[in-house]
């Protein structure tokens, strides 16, 4: 049914696309691109045992990008009339006319908007609101029933549908229909030592079928348990400690430790510690890192990137050796290579840049139980929060939202929250055990230069010889 609903009607009439791009070249552009976006979103917030808010939003607009040499002009508008788009094209071209290049049009593919295969079984918008509320209420009930210490529960449901169309004067003309569905539940538990929190989130590039595989009540019980467990948590250690990261819980480590540093825009400006290191050993042998936008229903999956190029599986580190960076159109043009499908933007108001999609470390061959048993003392991180990296130095932090002490090869007491800090290049070399239990983690939003895009990450259970744990205990 969804295939029929996800029509291939272009967001902007092809005659108007043609006229707009011609206007950009006529005004002095060397190359021009039209990016059109139509985004619908809806959400329900369930807090304090009731539906607090139901919301919905709609956005339509176009961004016109014009380049001449190294200069890029960009204009965005929500006025989708032919005249509005022509005005935007001339505005975008204005900065480029400082050095007019006289571009040529290859519009041979303009009549064939390639719509990616639909991957959505049931559009969330086709489901009645009462069913969404029922899931939230079930989560609230489950969390509150899970433990008497649970004092507050927030459950959120969100859906989005983003239709995009990209056409440029080098013959790209493609469209995609991206549907994502998200469910999260957060609990507060209250005890003698104060308040603690636990959260669980699932989100995939799928429709309502998300709930065929994920039971909100089970997620709520896990979130509740996480909060309650932390009531008894002791302060985390302070200083360098061996750290075991549970499968799926720590992909953000690689997103921060090296993912951003492998983005070609940062590499090109010398703002990455990985600049000039292709072919060198940058990670322990056995460690392979992949960015894969084609990866099934994962949160960062896309059929095409926001420059109209198909996403693909890109191996970045192979058995410890740096093999490639990630590329958008602009940076790959300068290097005379094809884009890797990593040109993304938050919305039609933004310029695209190099971004990750689903970034993960592939399996090793060790039983995860053996990794823990082989650790005399350390920290076991079951669940990581967000992170941040300084790409110039490679120093990165990430939050541990659920962690435990490892003593004599056994997971023991829960630890309070904190950040871990490490240096990306060093941490990659310090991975001394890689499990065989690969899993993807929770959906994330990656922020870069003020733009947020959905990303996925994953890894098998692994151990880093030493990371600095930002706790308060001696």
């Amino acid at each position: 049914m969804a295939a029929a609903e996800m029509t291939a009607a272009p967001l902007v009439d092809l005659d108007v696309v043609d006229a707009t791009l011609r206007a950009a070249l006529d005004a002095g552009g060397e190359w021009a691109e039209l990016f059109a976006e139509d985004r619908e979103s809806a959400g329900v917030v369930f807090d304090e045992g009731r539906v607090e808010e139901m919301n919905s939003g709609r956005d339509r607009g176009v961004g016109i990008r014009v380049t001449a040499g190294e200069v890029t002009g960009y204009a965005h508008t929500s006025d989708l009339s032919a005249r509005g788009l022509a005005d935007a094209a001339r505005t975008a071209a204005a900065v480029a006319t400082r050095q007019p290049r006289g571009g040529t049009m290859d519009m041979t593919s303009l009549g064939r908007v390639a719509l990616a295969e639909p991957r959505v079984a049931v559009l969330p918008a086709s489901i009645g609101a009462e069913r969404k509320v029922a899931l939230l209420r079930a989560a609230d009930d489950a969390a509150r029933s899970a433990h008497e210490a649970v004092t507050q529960v927030t459950a959120r449901y969100g859906e989005s549908r983003r239709r995009i169309m990209v056409a440029n004067t080098h013959g790209v003309c493609a469209a995609d229909d991206q549907v994502r569905t998200l469910f999260s539940v957060g609990c507060v538990a209250s005890g003698d030592g104060g308040l603690q929190t636990g959260r669980e989130t699932v989100g995939y590039t799928v429709g309502w079928e998300l709930f065929d595989d994920h039971d909100p009540a089970e997620l709520a019980e896990r979130a509740a348990q996480r909060a309650v467990t932390k009531l008894a948590a002791r302060p985390a250690p302070s200083g360098e400690v061996p750290v075991v990261i549970a499968r799926g819980g720590g992909g953000v480590l690689f997103h921060e430790a090296c993912g951003h540093g492998l983005e070609a825009d940062l590499v090109r400006k010398g703002a990455s510690v990985f600049a000039g290191r292709v072919g060198s050993q940058v990670a322990a042998s056995g460690v392979s890192l992949v960015d894969d936008g084609t990866m099934g229903p994962e949160w960062g999956a896309l059929a095409i990137d926001d420059e109209g190029h198909p996403t693909q599986r890109n191996e970045l580190i192979s058995d410890g050796i740096l093999t490639d960076y990630m590329w958008d159109w602009l940076r790959s043009r300068d290097e005379g290579r094809v884009p890797s499908g990593n040109g993304r933007r938050q919305s039609y108001t933004h310029l695209p840049m190099v971004r990750m999609t689903n970034t993960f470390v592939t399996n090793g061959d060790i039983d995860p139980a053996d990794i823990i048993a082989d650790t005399p003392w350390g920290v076991y991180v079951a669940h990581l929060g967000g992170g941040q990296v300084n790409t110039a130095t490679g120093d990165f932090v990430f939050g541990m939202t659920e962690s435990y002490l490892i003593e004599d090869g056994v997971i023991t007491e829960p630890l309070r929250e904190g950040n871990l800090i490490g240096n990306g290049p060093q941490v990659l070399l310090d991975i001394d055990a890689l499990g065989n239990d690969f899993a993807m983690g929770s959906p994330g939003t990656c922020g870069k230069d003020g733009q947020g895009v959905p990303v996925g990450d994953g890894q098998p259970t692994l151990r880093v010889r030493a990371l600095t744990v930002g706790g308060t205990a001696a």
Binding site: D47, E48, V51, E52, E53, N55, S56, R58, R60, G63, E70, V71, T72, Y74, H76, T77, S78, D79, S81, R83, G84, A94, V95, A129, V188, G194, L195, T197, K230, S238, G239, E240, K269, A271, T349, L351, G385, G386, G387, Q388, V389, N390, A392, T393, D395, F396, V397, F398, G399, R416, E417, G418, N419, I421, N423, T468, V469, G470, G471, T472
Partner: protein, 454 residues
């Protein structure tokens, strides 16, 4: 898809009022509409890297009926979109669940501060001047120190926005304002080592931008970190440099918002009137000071913005309220509703200010003896839990030894809890240093914080 219409703020207010007039019976409608335009220029290697500009429009409609709330928004003011948005908000309200305190703000008798914030100076800056400003910023960073090897970002941005908010309870306010900003991320290199700095400024008028400070701060951050090493783990006295102090106070202010208090998510619930911080600490939220970009005549529900005391001599004065949290707490709104056009009003600060203390700038390090100066933090979103108060962030800066600023450190964390850090404040600088957007902040000295490194 009609062609774009230009609105002035009177017309926006009229549009918002017209939608509110659709309210039927006991239904309440609140409409926020806005238009804006913006330009961002980035320079690289002495030329324009990119120039991005655009127009935007938005509407947010909130409907409350019998204590149920629905909200819808859209990125256009076309007549059909406006009608669809009202219909969507009404549809959404059907699934809300009643809360007896849920209602729109009613006009109160508090007069707005009457600030003139609509300086049109940014509107008259030609693109060529914006380009020149970005290129000049890059050039000045490069020439500030021979170790500056490049500038990842040198940018100019400006924007102008007009908005109106009306409600069926009789509120109708409008505003118009512009701003401009610059930001730089210079790289410093020494051998194989590269460090990056960042600084920016924002102002209502181009001639109020402090470019000298942006160049000096961003380049000294980058060069100052060259040679930095990982420090030993120990409990130390930390000096939070003004930008870090501002981030810390921002976190503290967020847990003093009544919505997190009412929902049992604030560690400071039930503590009004109690000593929650050292007696040297005084914090107010002051949107009535027109010199800051946080200045406002109205809050996000159209009530007068006002000065609110949060912490006085270390004692918690009270919480910040919007209309909903006030009604639920049997008090009045503090004019602290914060929102974008496209979201329902939350509760937050406009422009938090910390009163200066008595440590002269030239005595700051001597007053500490041994400790660390934290010039920057990372992971504020991942390492601070505003419900439990656990605080652990990545930190970099300089060591303080024998009362003097000493070698730089990096790859470390500082950790404590918000509760302990507030009580652990043991000094506040006598001089508030300028921050972006006309804000200023003195350095804060906090004792007994865990520094984690080697």
């Amino acid at each position: 898809m009609s062609e774009r219409r230009q609105y002035d703020t009177d017309e926006l207010a009229q549009l918002a009022r017209q939608v509110c007039e659709h309210a039927q019976g006991s239904e309440q409608i609140e409409v926020c509409v806005s238009t804006g335009r913006s330009t961002t220029v980035r320079a690289y290697r002495g030329d324009v890297e990119s120039l991005r500009s655009g127009h935007s429009a938005a509407i947010g409609v909130r409907v409350i009926s019998h204590g149920r709330q629905g909200f819808a928004s859209a990125g256009s003011l076309d007549a059909d979109v406006v009608a669809d948005t009202l219909a969507a908000a009404r549809s959404n309200v059907k699934f809300g669940e009643p809360d007896p305190h849920q209602a729109l703000a009613e006009p109160d008798d508090v007069a707005p501060p009457g600030l003139d914030l609509s300086d049109p100076a940014v509107l008259s800056v030609p693109d060529a001047d914006k380009i020149a400003a970005a290129i000049d910023l890059e050039r000045r960073c490069l020439s500030a120190d021979p170790r500056i090897s490049g500038v990842r970002v040198a940018a100019w941005s400006d924007g102008w926005s007009q908005s109106a908010l009306a409600s069926s309870t009789g509120i109708c306010v409008q505003s118009e304002h512009g701003s401009c900003s610059v930001g730089a991320q210079p790289l410093a290199t020494d051998g194989d080592e590269t460090q990056i700095g960042y600084a920016g400024d924002a102002a209502r008028r181009p001639d109020e931008l402090d470019i000298d400070r942006v160049v000096a701060e961003s380049t000294s951050q980058a060069t100052g970190q060259l040679g930095a090493t990982k420090p030993p783990s120990e409990r130390v006295t930390v000096v939070l440099a003004p930008p870090v102090a501002a981030a810390f106070i921002g976190v503290v202010a967020s847990v003093l918002a009544a919505d997190s208090v009412l929902k049992g998510r604030s560690p400071f619930a039930d503590r009004v009137g109690e000593q929650i911080a050292d007696e040297r600490l005084h914090v107010v939220d002051d949107p009535t000071d027109p010199t800051t970009l946080g200045a406002a005549n109205f809050d996000g529900e159209g009530l007068a913005a006002r000065r609110n005391e949060l912490i006085s001599a270390g004692v918690l004065s009270g919480f910040l309220h919007n209309a909903y949290t006030a009604r639920r707490s049997d008090t009045v709104s503090t004019g602290s509703a914060v929102r974008g056009t496209r979201s329902v009003p939350g509760v937050g600060t406009h422009a938090p200010v910390v009163a200066t203390g008595n440590i002269a700038a030239d005595k700051l390090y001597a007053s500490v003896g041994d400790g660390v100066l934290v010039r920057g933090v990372s992971g504020l979103h991942s390492g601070v839990n505003p419900t439990s108060g656990d605080f652990s962030v990545g930190a970099w800066g300089h060591r303080i030894a024998g009362g003097q600023l000493a070698e730089p450190f990096r790859e470390a964390t500082i950790a404590s809890t918000l509760q302990r850090m507030l009580l652990g404040i043991c000094g506040i600088g006598a001089t508030a240093e300028p921050l972006a957007g006309g804000m200023s902040m003195p350095p804060l000295v906090i004792a007994d914080v865990a520094l984690s490194g080697v």
